[in-house]
Symmetry: C2
Subunit: 653 residues, 2 copies
């Protein structure tokens, strides 16, 4: 680990931060030379490497450590799948159009934005401090409605506040009514807006040459797991619990994407679907994570109008029923550990529970890992108990059972009355009506069967069907007997616990949390990415591109590669200081300088990114030390015990 | 490396092979419970892991070893990009419709299939052996046209053969004419087919809520590289050569996909775009690969009607001009090395050069790495010199220069005659006509300027513009002087060498090449995947799920993880023999068995998949040995020198 520097002492400078990301090509708007398309971004070399490292650590932390079954399913999906899952009907936002310009706005965002601006204006007019407009990026408008200092009636203030609190509860007609009643207009043009229309967020296409097969690009990877459930269960020898996992691209045709990587139209997700017995949601490894302390914002607190968080261990939260079950708690803890490992600031991470009216139709409990950044608190991971919803609907639709068959330790023995027909006599006696009769008898409950049995024992019985037909039955055609049934297999639809990661959002928040500037050089941005995820671990810096340094550059590169440490050489034609500055911006934690002393004495210096400390040692010593640093075996303080301070002049910055 | 077993002795049993892939969930048709969609497949756990390992080795072999710049660009692409690249106009196949059923067929496939069937029937009628129908999966029909033994006129045979040889040259109108002239019908129904229509293979969608922005799913990742060229060049400090690399999903809406993973509608590609000076396509590392011997099928051989390959070193092929340049040769060699490393059989790998009429419109030379499999020879990697095509068209379209500026070592000094105006006199004299005059003078070549200079030296000159206007010029208004120009920067559009990998095709061929069955047990399939790419490296097999084995299972798992070796435990309730058989099918190269002797003596046995040899040793010895085996440091013969043979009874199969 790199030594700690007091980074929070410097306030976050968003302009400089964004300039750095752009200059170093972490990511950039896609199709920029064509004018770009909102919500589509390309990752450049450092962004791609950072993303690859975040994914690699995710695979280790979840798939490998937990023995999950990885799948890789298609993005293009036939319409029937999303009709069944409910996405065709419900995966939509309400949009409104400016009646004159035709500009499209998200209905809920418009209402929220305009009312909040009016409330802010009211507070200003009353001489109170203007309330800060919420910075939730999901709710932010392109151009914020301007707050003008106009005092409102107390009743109006109350009404606006009530509307805002319930906003997630309104559908299109209600949003339209609100716009008319409160004269809510497009703040960009001051024009009225039309009636809200539902806009499905899935990208549509058609499959095959005749255009008759409608398809959608998946908005999440989950359905691909569920449709393969039977194969996965078989792969796992028929046993639950087990989990499938997938990293892949998903698509959402956002109405008006903004907030950079936080709301995009194409993104990489990582999703786990953990299948568990609905009657037993305990987790065998829960004991290992009981102690993990999270910052929680539960639904009751929110429903009481507060956003006060509390620190609580996952064990306590499950014991008290705040988190619904052990498996959900287990994954919340594992999500926490993962995010901290890759470098998210624990002070800016909280778990927020969904409120009753907020939860997806299928979920029974849901917690979002929210990460604070300059746009506010952003949902970066969702962790939901989806119950049996998905497997049930696909099973019902396709007629394919998606169930677990479990041998019972103790067979369940039951007795019941069973009607037994003499088919031959039955056919002869009742002919074409035999079917109606049999259906009627099959529909009788236990009590009715016992009553009928009694009547038959007395010689005959008359029964009347719903259709009004009467039949006279005798023991010759029907007997009713008590039989014993032994059930040794239990069948059930497993429940699904789903941790779902938005990797682009995590990556963005990580970059914000890692960014700072040196007090003595505010222009010089630094990304203090942990070595675990840093795009490049070690920068090799020869004093110049002179040939005499080549053998050492090659030797050190080869030794680092053998040790599994990813390094890059920067022999560009600028000063060593400038090259280090560039690599501070790229988040490279360590730099090795090769100079004339290296050629003479086989020594190199090692520089730590955050402190700019420099140490010197023999090549093999330094390679061994930097390997231990990168692998997290030692920290910089321990490295300093191994290597003396370097005070030479050649590598000053 | 696993020891070699004579696998080729057993003929390839496709039915058993496909059953294995399906049973072990390497991959399966996507949306199977919904009836599936042609050309879409999901990868299950072993398929995903195999794919991840193939990608990981690709990243090491290309991106890391060669210091390439990785990018991750979007799949959804605005229409303008593919209009410029030529895909909207040209990325299409010709389809024909059955006039009665409306069934859609690929035009060229239909013609090929029917004519080949007639030729086969002719050969049969002539008493010759029926010629085997070509098994190229790209050219194969859903239901092969049946060959019936009908003798054709010699002239007709000749005509058919000529048509087949030129098939790739025909457009839609010619294909339609062929169908009418030769009465080519849909072999499934014997109905006529309609006029060929062009069918673009890109999936179309629209971006944004108003539906006005047409978008396509990329059919290759390449354009995403090219559009970011300027950022990549800057990241590389303005220098060429360099390469960008990307692994990602692409989409092609095939008319009638078949041949399993070989022709699908959604697939993962890995592409390199190597940017090089058009005047210098040498490669600094070419010397390291000169010796690599490939099996080549050059264009001249094919154009002469032969498919005879020859072995040749890449060095010789470049020296003789068979391969166009060093950089192209370098990548052909690197592709060869990569494919062999991951386990492709070198005897079933060839490089085929595109013929003149076959090459894409932009390419100047192109070689396909073709891998032989049960469908024939399949293109799995393309390696093309795309010249300056892509960067030029995007630059022209957007007005953004996509060029390299290179400081010249020796500035180029040139002299030329330069007209210099006295603007004030010019305006006063010629007023509104000054512009026409100046334009005319600017258009004059060197000789004309010298002539004019001579006339001016004599006092005055009369010039006449294209518009027919006459002007009298004096030295007062115009002087012409010889000036020296020094050019120190050279500007050029780099050329692009593009190795492009279809990872699904490679994965499929690798599975075929790895599959065999034991002579003594033909039912038992084995996948001899190299440890480098095998989904699981080591299987840990406790004799039973009894608790007493748990500590050893955990100890060995932990030790292997620490050594970086991916293992799985199989403690399912079946015999050890059955568990090994299952893992032979999964391609797991080594198995460690834990039995009562392990608990007592801390020994475990190691089993090699291909030979089924078993050896025994102390836990740490065996862990060290299997680590060396997996990392390729030793082979099985060397492992046998370290560990004695095991002849126990507990682990017999």
């Amino acid at each position: 680990m790199a030594s700690t520097v007091n980074k929070t002492a410097h306030s976050f400078d968003k302009t400089r931060f964004e300039a750095l990301l752009n200059r170093r090509f972490f990511y950039a708007p896609a199709f920029e030379i064509y004018g770009g398309v909102a919500g589509l971004y390309d990752y450049g070399p450092p962004g791609s490497a950072l993303q690859a490292n975040i994914i690699s650590e995710w695979r280790k932390h979840f798939i490998i450590e937990e023995g999950m079954l990885e799948v890789d399913t298609t993005i293009m999906t036939p319409s029937a799948v999303f009709e069944t899952s409910g996405h065709v009907a419900r995966f939509a936002d309400w949009m409104v159009k400016d009646v004159k310009t035709g500009d499209v706005l998200r209905g809920d965002h418009l209402v929220k934005n305009v009312l909040e601006a009016r409330l802010a204006g009211d507070r200003e007019a009353r001489g109170l401090e203007a309330a800060p407009v919420a910075e939730d990026p999901k709710k932010k408008k392109k151009k914020a409605a301007k707050a003008t200092a106009v005092k409102l009636d107390d009743a109006v203030v109350q009404e606006y506040e009530t509307i805002l609190a319930q906003l997630d509860n309104y559908g299109g007609p209600e949003l339209g009514e609100l716009c008319r009643k409160h004269d809510i207009r497009n703040p960009d043009t001051d024009n009225e807006v039309g009636e809200p229309q539902q806009f499905n967020l899935m990208f549509q296409s058609s499959i095959g040459p005749t255009g008759q097969h409608k398809g959608y690009l998946r908005p999440e990877t989950a359905q691909g797991h569920f449709l393969n459930f039977n194969r996965l269960l078989e792969y796992n020898n028929g046993r639950v619990p087990f989990a499938s996992a997938q990293v892949g691209r998903s698509f959402r045709n956002e109405i008006s994407p903004r907030a950079g990587l936080l709301r995009v139209r194409e993104f990489t997700m990582a999703e786990v679907e953990h299948y568990v017995d609905p009657d037993d949601k305990s987790h065998p490894s829960f004991k290992d994570v009981r102690h993990v302390e999270i910052v929680a914002l539960d639904k009751h607190t929110q429903e009481a109008g507060s956003s006060e968080t509390k620190k609580i261990t996952v064990g306590e939260a499950v014991d008290k029923g705040i988190i619904a079950n052990e498996t959900l708690g287990y994954f919340i803890a594992r999500i926490y550990q993962y995010l901290i490992n890759i470098g998210i600031d624990p002070a800016r991470l909280r778990f927020r529970q969904h409120m009753g009216n907020e939860m997806a139709h299928y979920a029974t409990d849901c917690w979002d890992a929210e990460i604070q950044n300059s746009y506010g608190w952003t949902e970066c991971v969702g962790c939901a108990d989806r119950a049996a919803y998905d497997l049930s609907v696909h099973s019902n639709k396709t007629g394919t059972p998606l169930i677990v068959r479990q041998a019972l330790k103790e067979p369940i023995v039951t007795e019941k009355e069973v009607p037994e027909w003499n088919k031959k006599v039955m056919g002869k006696t009742f002919k074409g009506d035999a079917g109606i009769l049999q259906k009627h008898i099959d529909s009788l409950d236990e009590a009715a069967l016992i009553k009928l049995k009694g009547e038959l024992a007395q010689g005959s019985a008359v029964v009347k069907t719903e259709e009004g037909k009467e039949f006279t039955l005798t023991p010759e055609v029907l007997t009713i007997e008590r039989k014993t049934f032994k059930q040794s297999i239990r069948e059930f639809v497993p429940n699904v616990i789903e941790p779902s990661f938005g990797l682009g959002r995590i990556l963005y928040c990580l970059l914000e949390h890692s960014f700072w500037a040196r007090e003595q050089d505010i222009e010089r941005g630094v990304l203090s990415l942990p070595p675990l995820v840093a795009p490049t671990k070690v920068l090799i810096v020869p004093l110049s591109a002179r040939e005499e340094f080549d053998p050492l550059v090659q030797e050190i590169t080869a030794k680092l590669r053998k040790a599994g440490v990813f390094s890059r050489v920067d022999d560009s034609n600028t000063s060593i200081g400038k090259r280090y500055a560039r690599n501070d911006e790229l988040g490279t934690p360590y730099g090795l300088t090769i100079d004339f002393a290296s050629v003479q004495n086989r020594t190199v210096t090692i520089r730590e990114r955050d402190t700019m400390d420099q140490r010197i040692g023999k090549i093999d010593e330094v390679v061994a030390t930097v390997t231990d640093l990168v692998n997290g075996n030692i920290d910089w303080a321990q490295a300093c015990e191994r290597l003396p301070k370097y005070d030479g002049v050649q590598a000053v910055e």
